[in-house]
Amino acid sequence: MTEMNRERLDLNTDVITVNMGPQHPSTHGVLRVVLKLDGEVVLSAVPDVGYLHRGIEKIAENKTLHQVIPYTDRMDYLSPMSNNIGLAMAVEKLIGFQITERCRVMRVICMELARLASHLLWLATDALDVGAGTVYFYAFTEREKIYDIFEKMSGARFTVSYGRIGGLARDWPEGLEREIETYVAQAHKTIDECDKLLTRNKIWIDRNQDVGVISAEKAIDMGLSGPPLRACGVEWDLRKAYPYLGYERYDFEIPVGEHGDCYDRYLIRMEEMRQSIRIVQQALKEMDRSIPLFPEDPESRKVFLPPKDRVLTKMEELIHQFIVATEGPKTPKGKEIYFAIEAPKGELGFYLVGSGTNVAHRCHFRAPSYINLQALPILIKGAMVADCVATIASLDPVMGECDR
């Protein structure tokens, strides 16, 4: 044995600490993870969040509830629709407001399209993180089509701010239903294509199966929700558990996994996209333009902002606009509600406390990304560094929502 070889044998391997982030460890935002490594094996991991803490909860206490809606867009910025409609529904619950049937159907369509858009972006980034670049372009092409629909609805392609307390920002333009119909009729094509590219791909399976495993009990203990919880075999979906917006009328299934690993989370999200398409198709059939978008009784006029085209042409609507914008919906003082929707990432909850004015005394958001991310140390303990990236991607955290 040469001198050098002997030296090599004596080499001490130490446990090292590696810092991942905060600058985009895996294209999911500013997350920092401190890993303690033995060679390539992760001994323990400590996520450090807060790099995108923008004080949305504090801002929300200083603005009227109508003004808070644009801020919710910037929380989970992959699916702004579900956030601002969620907040609108929470406020409606707090003040006890009933929206019309058509508004309900339209909201369902918006939220399911948002789920589709969010999962598509997750698919793009997850595949990119694991090394499959093609899917990124496929998914973004598809997303742009959804953006086009959102743009026609709200005027913005990305941060839509379309939900309003008591309704929606404005009615859809003529013929948008048909456009959505044509879109969803072909939306499964891209999903199938990505399915073909990934699901039975050897590399994809190797990198995802049995990676980032969590058991059902542990998942419930850690408060996981959304696809990560369902991947462990827990059939829990707020759309079924506490149906809102008439979700109980639609025929759809909740995909449930069994292993609780990255691959199951992938399969579940793929299936959820297909189910979303189903829901949108059913909802489009229920869409009935003869029902008004906003309730007409005088009491509810004090809640919602009248649509812009009416404000600019009718005197009394202008007065309403003025009154609602300044005085807004009065929240009952000291009363509190918790309202949760099944956002693409998981359970998005709103805890609102009324103050007697149109400003919430307290506005807390239960962010699914924040709580799902908390389970990261459990998921990646004992895994390799490369698995860590795949696991973070499969949890699909959005830091804007995580840190608020």
Partner: protein
């Protein structure tokens, strides 16, 4: 010498050059070396996507199929600052994140340019809150601001084109003096280390004992 530079524009071309030129029928570019380099540089910007929040998604859309930044030769996004010359800051910069922005900027080799994408990066935007830096120009110099919340991908592409213009216009200072943007300060002790994070990691590893009070695992950070 068959190359004519624009530094001596008034001088007549010599006969040999003229004859050469006629032979190749104009397939020759005249220009100063710096201009040629600038041209090459302009059409192969390597952006460093400093994606912080929502705007980053639009930045991704800009690179993806519909908007296709590759048409401007700037699609080679690299996540390491050392390979890049254009930093696109996209998103809300918080005070907790500020040091990272500064450090990444400092690590980029000269010459470098910065695009501030979105109102958050530009001025703090709608987040006039305790934790948000009110405009990234408090921390690093910016060449092009792109307003919008988020700006459409077209707007950012326009900003990239503006940067390209600037690349062509900019004076070519000798290396080392080009510090209109500040420079990388390597291992300057003044610079300090990343704030240490007490991670509370207390892993039991077989055959390895952490010496009492030893800060080994804390030293693992990149300290600039």
């Amino acid at each position: 010498m068959g190359v004519k530079t624009l530094d001596q524009p008034d001088q007549e071309l010599d006969r040999q050059t003229r004859e050469d030129l006629q032979m190749v029928k104009g397939g020759v570019i005249f220009g100063s070396l710096s201009k040629l380099v600038d041209m090459a540089r302009k059409n192969s910007l390597w952006p460093m996507p400093f994606g912080l929040s929502c705007c980053a998604i639009e930045m991704m859309a800009m690179v993806a199929s519909r908007y296709d930044l590759a048409r401007f030769g700037a699609e080679a996004m690299r996540f390491t600052p050392r390979q890049c010359d254009l930093m696109i800051v996209a998103g809300t910069l918080t005070k907790k994140m500020a040091y990272a922005a500064k450090r990444i900027y400092d690590q980029m080799p000269e010459p470098k340019w910065v695009i501030a994408m979105g109102v958050c990066t530009t001025t703090g935007g709608m987040f006039n809150a305790y934790s948000v830096v009110q405009g990234i120009d408090h921390i690093i110099p910016v060449d092009v601001y792109v307003p919008g919340c988020p700006p459409r991908p077209e707007a950012v592409i326009y900003a990239v084109m503006k940067i390209q213009d600037q690349v062509m216009k900019e004076k070519w200072a000798p290396l080392g003096k080009r510090s209109h943007h500040g420079h990388y300060r390597g291992r300057d002790p003044k610079y300090g280390a990343l704030p240490l994070l007490d991670t509370g990691v207390k892993a039991e590893v077989k055959g390895y004992q952490e010496e009492p009070g030893s800060p080994t695992w804390r030293k693992g950070y990149y300290t600039g």
